[in-house]
Each structure stands twice: as C-alpha cells, then as structure tokens.
C-alpha cells in the first residue's frame, strides 16, 4: 500500500509542477511570496488554487451531461411524435425560465427532501447531506441542457431532409445515419452556439459557492472575510474567471478549426 500511495504522491507532485498558480513556476509562487496570496499556510494562494480546480472540474463534469441531455431534448423536439415534442417543449420552457440560482436551490433542497423521505420510508431516520458538487452538477446540467437543446434543435432544422434520405439510400440504419451522416454536420452547425453556452456555464458555476462548494468565489470570499481585504480578493476572483474565459476561448478556437477541417478553405 505504501508503494502505491507514494506513487500517487509522486504523480501528484509531477502534475503539481505544472500547477499554474501554486506550482514551482506558478503565478502565486513567483509574485505572491510573502503577501496574502502566498502558497502554503501563511497565505491564501493554495486555497484559491484549490477553488480554481473545483470550478474547472465542475464545469468540465457538467458539460458532457448537459450536452447529452440537450441532445436528447433536441432529438425529442424534432421528432414526428407530438407528445414527445410537447414534453421537450415543457422541459425547455421551465428550465430556461427559472433563474439558475432557483434551479440550484430546488435541486439541492428537493433532492435532500426526496432522499430523506425515501430513507424515512425504509426506516432510516438520520440527517441526509447532499453533496454540493453533485447538486451543482445536476442543476447546471439541467439549465445547460435546456439551452443546448434549443441550439441543437435549430442545428437539426438546418440539416436538409435529403441527408437522411441519402443515409437510407446507402442502406445505413437509423443509428448509423445519425452517427455517420447527421452528427458531424450537427457539430459544425451547433458549435458557435455551444461555445457561448460553455462560457455561460463557466460563469454559472459561481452559483455553487452559495450552497457551500469551495469554488473560486467561495474560497476568495472566505479569504476576504478573514483578511478584511475584500476588494483585493474579489479582484483576484474576477481575474481568475477572466483568465479561465480567455484560456477556454483559445481552446475553443482550436476546436472550431478542427471541426471545419473538412471544409474547403476560403
């Protein structure tokens, strides 16, 4: 066991080398020495770096879930079946109309009440604490899927019917037509809209600080309360969100170019 844990520790140390905030060449390590944001026990640098990791992890964990649900909603929305369209319409109307904060509270407290009552039914009578990360992930995924469903639905409508007929003519089944013919085009058409939604998702993760998850805003808020340097720490929070947005816009430009690799260059 000792060998494995030390291997993990050295692995962690290896990735710690590339930690942009508190690593050996991190911003806080280089510039924050001896100040409030120094790494280690004296400053808040490592706590804030942990917050950045939580925010990034939450956004990255939410995205696939949101896209998957959004895809299903879009699929239902363009179905020929009336009841399926109606059900998808109700879903998008509700979750696009509710404030994200309210959705988060409804999911967080609703899950708590639901699980508590189910457990009470079984006979367990203790207090149940819902994992804030999970609740945040579900709430943000639901909101994100309502929007991404709309984006993908309009992308579906932009794909001509002839593409489906061509799939039929080639003898492809429904599933293979979807994966081989429709999806590659769908990605290309929906990408600009989905990029916007990723930026919105990144900002919406700040709401989970209210239900107690240690994300950027929570960690800087704690630091601000303890050190009484609220302006400084909230400036750092804004700067970190800005940095995340800039970084992801670089990554997204790369993805955009990748998605257009088969198009003729103009």
């Amino acid at each position: 066991m000792g060998g494995i844990s030390s291997a993990f520790a050295s692995l962690g140390a290896f990735f710690g080398m590339f930690d942009p905030l508190c690593g050996p060449v991190g911003i806080f390590t280089l510039l924050g020495e001896g100040t409030l944001v120094s790494c280690g026990d004296a400053g808040w640098g490592d706590e804030i770096a942990f917050g950045v990791a939580v925010t990034t992890a939450l956004a990255l964990a939410t995205l696939p879930l949101g896209l998957l649900i959004g895809f299903l909603v879009a699929l239902a929305g363009q179905s020929e079946e009336k009841s399926l369209r109606l059900a998808a319409g109700i879903y998008t109307t509700i979750f696009r109309g509710l404030p994200e904060l309210l959705t988060l509270f409804i999911v967080y407290y609703g899950m708590q009440i639901l699980i508590q009552s189910v457990l009470g039914f079984v006979g367990y009578d203790g207090r149940v604490e819902i994992n804030a990360f999970l609740a945040g992930m579900i709430a943000l995924a639901v909101v994100n899927s309502a929007y991404s469903g709309e984006v993908m639905l309009s992308a579906f409508r932009a794909i001509p019917k002839g593409q489906y007929e061509a799939g039929d003519a080639l003898g492809l089944g429904r599933g293979r037509t979807m994966v081989l013919v429709i999806l590659p085009q769908l990605v290309r058409i929906a990408l600009p809209g989905l990029v916007n939604l990723w930026m919105i998702l990144l900002k919406d993760t700040s709401y989970v600080s209210i239900i107690g998850l240690s994300d950027i805003l929570r960690q800087t808020g704690v630091a601000a309360k303890v050190s009484k340097e609220a302006f400084f720490f909230y400036m750092i929070a804004c700067g970190l969100y800005l940095a995340l947005a800039i970084l992801s816009s670089f990554a997204l430009r790369f993805i955009d170019r990748w998605s257009r690799r088969s198009e003729a260059s103009r």
Binding site: A76, S79, E80, E81, K82, S83, L84, R85, L86, A87, I90, T93, I94, R96, G97, L98, P99, E100, L101, L102, F105, I106, Y109, G110, I113, M199, K203, D204, T205, S206, Y207, S209, I210, L217, G221, A224, K228, E229, A230, F231, F232, Y234, M235, A237, C238, Y241, L242, A245, I246
Partner: protein, 276 residues
C-alpha cells in the same frame, strides 16, 4: 420467348402502415405521464400543505419582493441602455485607445460572473469605508440595493453595447451610400435610416437580455436585498417549507413567459411591413 405484352398500370403509393405503438410514441407518453405526475404532485403538495397563516404572513412579502425585482430590473435595463450608447460608439470608433477601452470593458464584464461583480462592488468597495465617506459616497455603497443596481447596470451595459453595435453594423453599407447620394446629412441618415433598421435587428436580443436580467437579478438576494428570491429564502429559512421555492418558480416563470409573449407580439407587429 416471352415478352411483356402489357404494362403494369400505375398504382398509388403503398399505404403507410401506421403502427399503433412505436418507441417514440411510447417514450413521449411516458415522459408526458411523468410531467403530469409531477404537476399533480406539485398541486397536491400545495393543497395538503396549505396554511392560511403562512399565506397571510408571506404572501404580501412575496408581492413586495416581486416589486423589488421588477424595479431593480427595469431601472438597471434603462440605465444600462443609456450607458451602452457611448460604449457601443467607442467600440465602433476608429480611435484605437477609445476602442481598446470599450473592448476591455465589454470583455471583462461579459466574461466574469455577475455574482463576482456584485461581491466586488458590495463587499470590495464597501471595505473602503473611510475613503468613501470622505468623498461623500458612503450612503450609496452602504446600501445593498444600490450596489445591486450599480453592478446590474454595469453588467447589462456591456451586453447591450454589444447588441447595439452588432445591430448598427448589420445595416448594409449601401443604405449609407444611398442616403449620401440623396444628400442627407449624417445625423438625419443615422436617426431616420440606420437606427430604425438597427433597432428591428436588436429587438430580439434586447428581449433576451431583459429575460437574462430578470433571471440574473436573483443573485442580489445573496447580498441581503429582499427581492423575490430574497423573500423566498427568508420564507424557507423560517418555515423549512419546500413550497417557498415552488411559489418563487411560479412567479419567475410567469414573468419570463409574459415577457417572451409580449416580445413575440412586438416583433410580429414591428416587422409587419417586412412580410411578403
């Protein structure tokens, strides 16, 4: 040797066999059943959990919270619209410095969370109490309501500036050239030719921005303002009754749906001359 002596007469296409039940229909019915079940359980929850004392106690508070939310959103949208005009024109100007400042403003306010901006203004600027008192601005930054208004205004101004800029730039250049060839002065061209066409383009994004603002305004409850969300949190913290959130959801959905329908009507009305 045989050959075809007569052609097969034309026949209608084979009738489509409508299956009574297919996977899509089954899924649709199941999901609809789920929605109906959910709605029924919500109604049942409201009926069984009905408490006149609570209703009399928190009902008026909800209404006043609704008023606060609507006032906050209306004021910030109007003030943001005013502030967005110079920003949009700075964004379109050829002066690199002006353009850079406007770009930085828009970029920063659009890519940081509203909640962080609110905290920065309320807690961050609020920590400079003695400095603000000496300038005579402490009364403003002391009140959470004013801080919320300021941060919403700055936030929505950045978004509205982009909407305005996009709309004005969407007017084709030929329109300007046409006006110039008619000898119209620049100001008349802008007010009578560019702006009417731009505002029609901007109508839908403006509607979306107002809806986003209504939803975003819920964060102001975190800094102790009793808007609709704040009253909801207050009621929940007192009663631990889950219904508190459901009522808030109904209120917010009603606002957003009303706005959406008003905007759809407005757009249909204002673009009726463009329909063929």
């Amino acid at each position: 040797m045989s050959y075809v002596k007569e052609l097969i007469p034309p026949r209608p296409a084979p009738a489509v066999i409508e299956k009574r039940m297919n996977p899509a229909r089954l899924t649709g019915m199941l999901v609809m059943a789920l929605w109906v079940l959910l709605a029924a359980s919500l109604i049942a929850m409201v009926i069984t959990g009905w408490d006149t004392a609570k209703f009399e106690r928190y009902g008026p508070r909800y209404i006043s919270g609704l008023g606060t939310t609507l006032a906050l959103v209306t004021l910030s949208i109007v003030m943001g619209a005013i502030l967005s005009v110079p920003v949009a024109f700075a964004r379109m100007s050829k002066n690199a410095v002006l353009n850079g400042i406007a770009f930085a403003y828009v970029y920063i306010f659009r890519s940081t969370p509203l909640l962080a901006q609110l905290f920065l203004i309320y807690y961050g600027l609020g920590s400079f109490k003695s400095e603000l008192e000496s300038v005579g601005l402490w009364w403003f930054f002391r009140e959470a309501w004013y801080c919320g208004l300021l941060s919403f205004t700055l936030n929505t101004a950045a978004y509205q500036a982009e909407i305005l800029r996009g709309a004005i730039e969407s007017v084709p250049k030929g329109q300007l050239e046409g006006a110039a060839s008619l000898g119209l002065p620049k100001s008349v061209t802008f007010w009578k030719i560019v702006l009417p066409q731009a505002l029609i383009v901007a109508l839908r994004p403006y509607g979306n921005e107002i809806i986003l603002m209504v939803k975003g305004s819920a964060v102001v409850s975190i800094v102790t303002v009793f808007d609709l969300m704040g009253e909801t949190r207050y009621a929940f913290s007192r009663t631990f009754d889950y219904q508190a959130y459901l009522w808030a959801a109904i209120f917010y959905l009603a606002i957003v749906e009303t706005l959406r329908h008003v905007w759809a009507w407005l757009e249909a009305r204002l673009t009726r001359h463009l329909k063929r």
